[in-house]
Amino acid sequence: MARAETKENSWSFDQIYDEYKTPIYNYVYHLVGDREQADDLTQDTFLKAFRALPKMDANLKLSAWLYRIATNTAYDALRRRKLIAWLPWQDLDHEPADVESADPQEIYGTTELVRAALRRMPQQYRAALLLYTQEGFSYSEIAQALNIAESGVKMYLSRARQSFREHYRALEQGGGIK
C-alpha cells in the first residue's frame, strides 16, 4: 500500500482519501452543483494531491491545502463550463441516496432555495461562505484554502452574506428557481 509517512504519522493514500473524501466531495458538490461533475473534480483533486504531496513542505496544512486544490479545480471546471454551456444544477429528484443525516425537519423547498441562492452567487464568495458555514473553517483557513490574504476573508464573507441574502430573498419572494 502506498503510504505517506512522517515521524509521527504513517498514513496511506487510502487513509487520506477516507479522511477527506466526504468533506472535499461535499464542498465541491456545493460549488458546482452537479453530482457527476463533483465525482470528476473529487477524483482530480485527490490525484493532484497525491502527485504533489511528496514535494510539499513539512509544515503543510493538509486540510487547507486539499481545499485549495479542490477550489482551483472547481474554478477551472466552472470556467470551462461557462465556455461550453450552462449546465443546470441537478434536479433534487436526482439527489444522491447517501445524503448524510439530512435534517428530518428540513423543508424540501428550503434546501432547494438555499442551493439556488448559492448558485447565483459569485463563485469566490460562494466558496468562502461554504468553507465558513459548512466546513467550519476559520478566517485563516479560508485564506489558505482560497489563496487570499486573511484580511480579504472578512470582505469576502461580508459580500458573500450580502449576496446570498439578496438572492435568497428574491427567491423566497417568488423569483423562481432558474
Partner: protein, 620 residues
C-alpha cells in the same frame, strides 16, 4: 455610525471579528435600528440554512475509480505491474489529532457491574473550535462510529439488559393514611383548580365557582416541602389530579388528590429512623431527596429517592398509585442516585449515579426490570455532574439526552438511544465550554432540542440551538448578547431571555427559534419572577418589578401593561382559557388574582399570596 457603515461590518460582527470599539458602536446601533437588526438576524439564519444543507458523500465506486485509475497506478509505480511492492513516500506532517480529553490521570467514568462492558470512547472528533461552530466532522465521525458498532447493538443491548434482569424487591406493600385529615367537611368540588404552597401547606382555588376562597388541602400535621409536583394531564383532561409532596417534619412522601382526598403516605421512610429530618434537608443528600419526585407521564407511578440507611447513598424507589406498592430499583453499585426522569412512554426511568465523583447514567425498565448503564465512554472530568437529564419525545425510538460539566461550565451534550436498536455508546451532540444548556422535548417540531448559552471569557454570551439529532449543527439565535434566564415557550417555537442582566434587571427579548428572528420586547425587566409563557405559546407575561406586561405574539409582540400592578411573585397561565392568567402579588398589594388579558380586568382570588409556583389541576 450610520446604517451603511454598519451593514459593512455586520458580517464581521456576527463572527466576533471586530475590534472592540467597532463592536461597541455596532452593538449600540443595533439597539435602535430595526433594519440592521433584521439584516443581522437574516445573516445568522442564512448561515444556519447553509450549514444545514444535507452533506453529500461520494459514491463508493469513486474510490475504486481513483485507486485504479492509470494516473494513480502510474503515480504509485504499480501501473500495469501487478503484485509489485508499492512505493513509500515521506510527506509533510499530516494534521495531528487533537489530544483527547480523557488523557491518563484524568478521572474516568467507572464501568458499573452489570452495565455494558467498558468500551473505547466513541471515535468522535476531539473538541475543536471548528466543531464548536460546525458539526460536519462530528456528524461524519458519528456515522463512522455507528457503522462500527451497529452489529453489536442488538446483542449487546439484549445481554446488558438481561444480565441485570432482577426482580425488583418490594419494600412496602400498602400505604397508611395520615392521622389527621385536613378536611372535615368532605371532598372539595370537582373541577379545575389551581394549587399553591403557603406556610407549609398546599391550597387550592376552584376557578369556575363563585366561591373564590382558597381551600386548604394538606393537614396541619405536615409541613410541605417546596418541591411538590402535580401528575401530568391525561388524555382528555386539562391537568393532572394528583399531587406528590414531601413532609419535612416526618420525612415521608405523600400523594394526595387535588380536592384534598386520599392523602396517602408512602410508607418507605426517606431517612434513617432516629435521624432528625431538619438536620438533613439543607445537605446535598436532603436536596437530592427533595428534588427527586417525578410522576410518570401516565400518572400511575411516582419515582423518588431516599436514604433509609443514613449513609448518604440515596436509592431510587417507584411507587404505584394503582397497587400502593413501592419497589426499590436494584443496583449493586454504590453511590448516590438523583434526577429520576421518566421516558415519554412511562416505561423507563433514567437517573444519575454519582460514585466517588464519577458520574454514570442508568436506564431502568419498569416492565422487564432491566437496568442498563448508558454512560460508558462519557468524557467525564473530576467534579462533573449531570446538570440536565431528559428523554427525546419519541415513543418509538426512546433516547436519553443530558448535559455534563459543572454549573456555569457545561462541556458536553450527549444523546443515546436505548431499547431495541439503541446505540452501544452515547453520541456527543456538542462539546466546548458553555454557561448553560436548557432542554425542551417540544423543540425542533417536537423532536427535542437544546438551548445553549455560549461562554465569552467565562461569562454568558450568545444563545444557540442544537437539535437532538446526532450530527446536528448548532443554530445561532442571537448575536453579541449576554444571555441570561433563557427559557422555551411551551410549544418549543420561541425562546425568551434577558440580555445584559444587572442586579436582576435586563433587556427582554424573544427569539423565534425556527427563523432566528430576535425581537427586543422591553428594557428593565426583572428575572424574578421568571417570565411565563402561555400554554399555547402565544402570550408571555413578565414583570418590571412594579408593572406586569403581557406580550401577544399574534399582535406584533406588543406589550399590554395590566391595570393590576404591583410586585409579582409568580405567574400561571390558565389551562382552560387562553388570555387568562393567575398572578400572585407580594408586598403592598399582596394576593392572588385571576386576570383577563383581553379585557385587562382582574379578580382577586385570595388575599395572602403564594410562595413558589402555582400549578393547575383538574378533578373530573
Amino acid at each position: 455610525m450610520n446604517c451603511e457603515r454598519v451593514e459593512e461590518l455586520l458580517s464581521a460582527y456576527l463572527d466576533n471579528a471586530l475590534a472592540p470599539e467597532e463592536w461597541q458602536e455596532v452593538t449600540a446601533h443595533l439597539q435602535t435600528c430595526t433594519k440592521c437588526s433584521v439584516m443581522l438576524a437574516e445573516f445568522s439564519r442564512n448561515d444556519a440554512l447553509i450549514s444545514h444543507l444535507p452533506r453529500v458523500s461520494p459514491d463508493p465506486v469513486l474510490r475504486n475509480r481513483i485507486f485504479s485509475s492509470p494516473e494513480f497506478l502510474e503515480l504509485t509505480g504499480t501501473f500495469d505491474v501487478s503484485g509489485e511492492a508499492q512505493k513509500d513516500w515521506t510527506v509533510p506532517k499530516l494534521p495531528a489529532k487533537s489530544p483527547r480529553r480523557d488523557t491518563p490521570g484524568r478521572p474516568q467514568l467507572v464501568a458499573i457491574p452489570g452495565g455494558r462492558s467498558t468500551s473505547p470512547t466513541p471515535s468522535v472528533q476531539p473538541p475543536s473550535s471548528r466543531q464548536r461552530r460546525n458539526s460536519g466532522n462530528l456528524r461524519t465521525s458519528f456515522i463512522v462510529l455507528a457503522a462500527t458498532v451497529i452489529l453489536a447493538i442488538g446483542i449487546g443491548s439484549f445481554l446488558s439488559l438481561n444480565s441485570w434482569r432482577h426482580q425488583t424487591q418490594t419494600t412496602n406493600s400498602g400505604a397508611i393514611t395520615p392521622p389527621i385529615g385536613p378536611l372535615q367537611s368532605g371532598p372539595l368540588s370537582a373541577g379545575v383548580r389551581f394549587v399553591f404552597l403557603r406556610d407549609g401547606a398546599l391550597w387550592s382555588v376552584l376557578t369556575n365557582s363563585s366561591n373564590k376562597q382558597a381551600d386548604r388541602l394538606t393537614s396541619s400535621s405536615v409541613m410541605v416541602a417546596a418541591s411538590w409536583v402535580v401528575s401530568p394531564a391525561q388524555t382528555g383532561r386539562l391537568a393532572g389530579d394528583m399531587l406528590a409532596y414531601v413532609d419535612l417534619q416526618r420525612a415521608f412522601v405523600h400523594v394526595i388528590r387535588s380536592d384534598g382526598q386520599r392523602d396517602t403516605i408512602i410508607k418507605q421512610p426517606l431517612l434513617k429512623t432516629g435521624i432528625q429530618p431538619t438536620s438533613v434537608w439543607d445537605t446535598d443528600t436532603g436536596a437530592t431527596i427533595l428534588n427527586s419526585l417525578a410522576w410518570s407521564n401516565d400518572g400511575s407511578m411516582l419515582a423518588f429517592v431516599a436514604d433509609p440507611t443514613g449513609t448518604g447513598q440515596t436509592r431510587l424507589y417507584i411507587y404505584s398509585t394503582e397497587t400502593g406498592i413501592t419497589q426499590i430499583v436494584p443496583l449493586s453499585a454504590k453511590g448516590s442516585i438523583s434526577h429520576p426522569v421518566w421516558s415519554p412512554d412511562s416505561i423507563r426511568v433514567a437517573f444519575e449515579l454519582i460514585n466517588n465523583g464519577s458520574v454514570s447514567i442508568f436506564d431502568y425498565n419498569t416492565q422487564n426490570h432491566g437496568l442498563l448503564a448508558i454512560t460508558n465512554g462519557l468524557d467525564s472530568q473530576a467534579g462533573d455532574i449531570v446538570l440536565s437529564l431528559n428523554w427525546s419525545p419519541s415513543l418509538d425510538e426512546p433516547a436519553i439526552t443530558c448535559s455534563e460539566g459543572v454549573i456555569g461550565h457545561i462541556h458536553s451534550l450527549w444523546i443515546r438511544r436505548v431499547g431495541a436498536g439503541g446505540a452501544i455508546e452515547p453520541g456527543r451532540l456538542l462539546v466546548g465550554d458553555y454557561v448553560q444548556a436548557i432542554y425542551n422535548r417540544n423543540g425542533n417540531n417536537r423532536n427535542g432540542s437544546w438551548l445553549i448559552v455560549t461562554s465569552v471569557a467565562g461569562r454568558a454570551g450568545d444563545l444557540w440551538r442544537i437539535d437532538v439529532v446526532p450530527g446536528s449543527g448548532f443554530v445561532p439565535l442571537t448575536s453579541g448578547k449576554q444571555v441570561s434566564f433563557a427559557q422555551w415557550s411551551a410549544d418549543g417555537v420561541h425562546v425568551d431571555y434577558l440580555d445584559a442582566l444587572t442586579s436582576g434587571v435586563g433587556t427582554f427579548h424573544i427569539v423565534n427559534v425556527r427563523t432566528g428572528v430576535d425581537s427586543l420586547i422591553a428594557t428593565e425587566v426583572v428575572n424574578d419572577p421568571a417570565p411565563a409563557w402561555s400554554t399555547d405559546g402565544q402570550e408571555l407575561a413578565y414583570s418590571t418589578g412594579t408593572r406586569i406586561g403581557i406580550v401577544n405574539l399574534q399582535a406584533g409582540s406588543r406589550t399590554l401593561f395590566l391595570k393590576l400592578s404591583g410586585m409579582a411573585s409568580t405567574f400561571a397561565w390558565s389551562v382552560t382559557l387562553s388570555h387568562q392568567i393567575v398572578v400572585a402579588l407580594r408586598n403592598m398589594s399582596q394576593g392572588i388574582y385571576m386576570v383577563d388579558t383581553l379585557h385587562n380586568t382582574s379578580l382577586q382570588m385570595d388575599q395572602l399570596g403564594a410562595s413558589g409556583p402555582i400549578e393547575w389541576t383538574e378533578i373530573p
